[in-house]
């Protein structure tokens, strides 16, 4: 943690990784170098071993050749000598191949090559001497051959052997040296590798701690992020649910609106029809208003006629009243006459009473006159009553006529007013007709508008339904996001560092 202070974690990680990789590469390099060095030493060792072996072979071959030579010398039969000679030849050939192999093996180490060439020269001399011996033997000069063997060949052989042993010793020493070198080299490599490995382990531990801490931090942050994601997903889910509900409601509302639109359309249709009928009614009303105007005019004329009649009636009544009064006067006169008759009768009765028995018949006449006067008076009274009744009736008629006249006047006024009203009404009706025409037009336009609105509403409905579907998908997505958050949380908890 502290190491990565001020550095980016990426850089720190790269550096840490780089360090480890670098160390590993170094280890590999060292190992490779060490191994290649060891292989070279091994080759050298191998070469030395092979050389030594060949040298031993050479020595044993030389030894065998000497033995075979001695056998040939010592053997008496020609056959035996021929066999020995054949063997020698064969041995010489293998010796030559051995020598060649040694030369090949020693190539690259000059000191030893010179030494071996000396040995080779000596072997060559020895071989020439032997060929001479074989020749001598074949000529039958065994003694001379024997002499050469002991005199010349023996010391040469000794010399060759010593030389070969010498070379072998040198080789042995070199081998030992190489082994020592290898041991030290491998030890050094071992220590170096151990050291580097320790370094790597340390770096790795450090690195691990750093990574651990980073991971922990990441994990923590991840947990919080996951929590946030979870909460957000839940919120989204809730919101989406709400949106879904809203969308469903919208869909319902749209469907309701569509229904309502249809109803409105129906209503509008009805309204248009009503407007049409109202228009017709208005036209009829207009006609009625015209008729009304005519009627009012006729009413006014009728009123005028009635007024004339009334005036005539009033005149008649006045005349009647006057005549009534004349009759009244006559009745007064008649009453007066009756009164006077009565008085006369009374006087006659009084006179008759004064006349005594002579006036008795007169008294009867007086009584008769009196009763006549009485009847006349009663009749007059009746006439008076009747006249009074007539007068009352006449008065009532006068009053009625006056009232009638007034009523006619009022009726005239009212009729005139009605005429004006009907005029206004007719204007209103005309206005209404205009309005109704406008309403009808508007209604038709409205209908057209409704017809346009209906498909629009259908589109909205479809969009709304799609919206609902989309919302449902969103809901599913939110649900899966929520599930994902939960799973992620579980996973993080599982890998809780």
């Amino acid at each position: 943690m502290k190491l990565s202070f001020g550095m980016k974690k990426k850089t720190a990680l790269i550096i840490a990784f780089g360090t480890i990789v670098f160390l590993v590469i170094i280890i590999q390099l060292i190992s490779f170098l060490g191994i290649s060095g060891l292989r070279q030493s091994e080759e050298k060792l191998n070469g030395a071993f092979q050389t030594n072996q060949k040298l031993v072979e050479l020595r044993s071959g030389q030894n065998r050749l000497r033995v075979l030579m001695l056998e040939m010398i010592l053997s008496k039969g020609a056959h035996e000598k021929g066999t020995a000679q054949r063997d020698i030849r064969q041995r010489v050939e293998s010796m030559d191949s051995t020598i060649n192999a040694i030369e090949l093996l020693l190539a690259g180490s000059p000191g030893k090559v010179e030494k071996f060439s000396e040995i080779k020269k000596m072997i060559k001399i020895y071989n020439e001497n032997r060929d001479n011996q074989i020749l001598l033997i074949n000529q039958g000069k065994d003694e001379e051959a024997r002499a050469i063997t002991f005199d010349v060949q023996a010391p040469l052989y000794e010399k060759i052997r010593d030389q070969i042993i010498d070379l072998g010793t040198v080789l042995q020493r070199e081998t030992n040296q190489i082994i020592d070198q290898n041991a030290s080299l491998s030890r050094n490599i071992f220590f170096l590798v151990i050291l580097l490995s320790l370094l790597i382990i340390g770096a790795s531990i450090l690195f691990m701690i750093v990574i651990f801490k980073i991971l922990r931090k990441i994990s923590k942050e991840l947990v919080s992020v996951v929590n946030i994601i979870g909460t957000s997903a839940a919120e989204i889910l809730t919101t989406v649910n709400e949106v879904s509900t809203g969308a469903t409601e919208t869909a319902t509302a749209v469907s309701e609106t569509t229904t309502t639109m249809e109803e409105i359309r129906q209503t509008s249709l009805v309204a248009t029809q009503r407007a049409q009928s109202v228009l017709e009614s208005s036209q009829r009303a207009s006609e009625a208003a015209d008729n009304g105007k005519e009627s009012v005019q006729q009413t006014i004329e009728g009123m005028t006629r009635i007024n004339q009649q009334m005036n005539m009636i009033a005149e008649s009544v006045v005349k009647l009243s006057e005549q009534n009064r004349s009759i009244g006067e006559i009745t007064i006169l008649s009453n007066d006459i009756a009164d006077q008759s009565n008085l006369l009768a009374v006087n006659a009765a009084i006179e008759a009473a004064k006349a005594g028995e002579q006036g008795r018949g007169f008294a009867v006449v007086a009584q008769e006159i009196r009763s006549l006067a009485e009847q006349s008076k009663q009749a007059t009274a009746q006439v008076k009553e009747i006249l009074s009744e007539i007068q009352k009736a006449v008065n009532l008629a006068v009053i009625a006529t006056e009232q009638g006249s007034k009523a006619v006047e009022q009726g005239n006024k009212l009729a005139t007013k009605s005429g004006e009203m009907i005029e206004i009404l007719a204007e209103s009706v005309n206005d209404a007709v205009q309005s109704v025409i406008q309403i009808s037009t508007s209604g038709q336009q409205q209908m057209a508008g409704m017809d346009q609105i209906v498909p629009a509403m259908e589109n909205i409905k479809q969009a709304s339904e799609q919206n609902v579907i989309g919302t449902r998908q969103t809901q599913k997505a939110a649900q899966s996001l929520n599930d994902l958050g939960r799973d992620l949380k579980k996973i993080i908890e599982m890998y809780n560092v």
Binding site: D339, N342, V346, N347, I350, A353
Partner: protein, 171 residues
């Protein structure tokens, strides 16, 4: 019609018969002239009545008692006209040409009485008369001879004629 006429005639015959019977005892009944001093009906013995007539050309005389409403020319002779309502302190109604005049005469004394109406003549049975009540408002019991069963007040003519106030005024 004939039947009704017959009935009327029979009634009349009966009436006349009745009168004849009354005539048999003249002291007990008298012929009275009835007149109205609205609202009461008064009667005067026909012996004292000289004539009834319409009231006309009444001349008021200054300096006379209030019950003397004026004088009147009756066939050449001037007679004084009195109002019994004032004399009797009865409620006044006013005088008009519709009023009738009852002219009464006793010995040399003759004057007219204003009446509202002359009802007619009638036979009154004196026995049927009831005496006036003891206490009378305005008119003294002296002026009333009696009251008939139907409520007609029969005036005592002799007492009225002999009344001092009338006589004095006459002078």
């Amino acid at each position: 019609m004939d039947l009704e006429d017959q009935e009327i005639l029979q009634k009349r015959a009966r009436m006349i018969r009745g009168r004849k019977k009354e005539k048999a005892s003249p002291v007990e009944s008298l012929l009275a002239v009835e007149f109205m001093l609205i609202p009461e009906k008064y009667a005067f013995d026909s012996i004292y009545v000289s004539e009834v007539m319409m009231l006309h050309n009444l001349t008021t005389i200054p300096g006379t008692p209030s019950f003397i409403v004026g004088i009147m020319n009756v066939r050449g002779s001037i007679i004084s006209v009195i109002d019994l309502k004032i004399f009797f302190n009865l409620p006044m109604k006013g005088i008009s040409s519709f009023n009738k005049l009852l002219i009464v005469k006793h010995q040399q004394m003759e004057f007219g009485i204003i009446t509202d109406e002359i009802v007619g003549t009638r036979q009154i049975d004196i026995h049927t008369l009831s005496a006036p009540p003891g206490t009378l408002r305005g008119v003294g019991a002296d002026f009333i001879q009696g009251i008939t069963p139907d409520g007609t007040i029969l005036l005592n003519a002799s007492n009225i004629f002999s009344d001092n106030s009338l006589i004095i005024n006459q002078k």
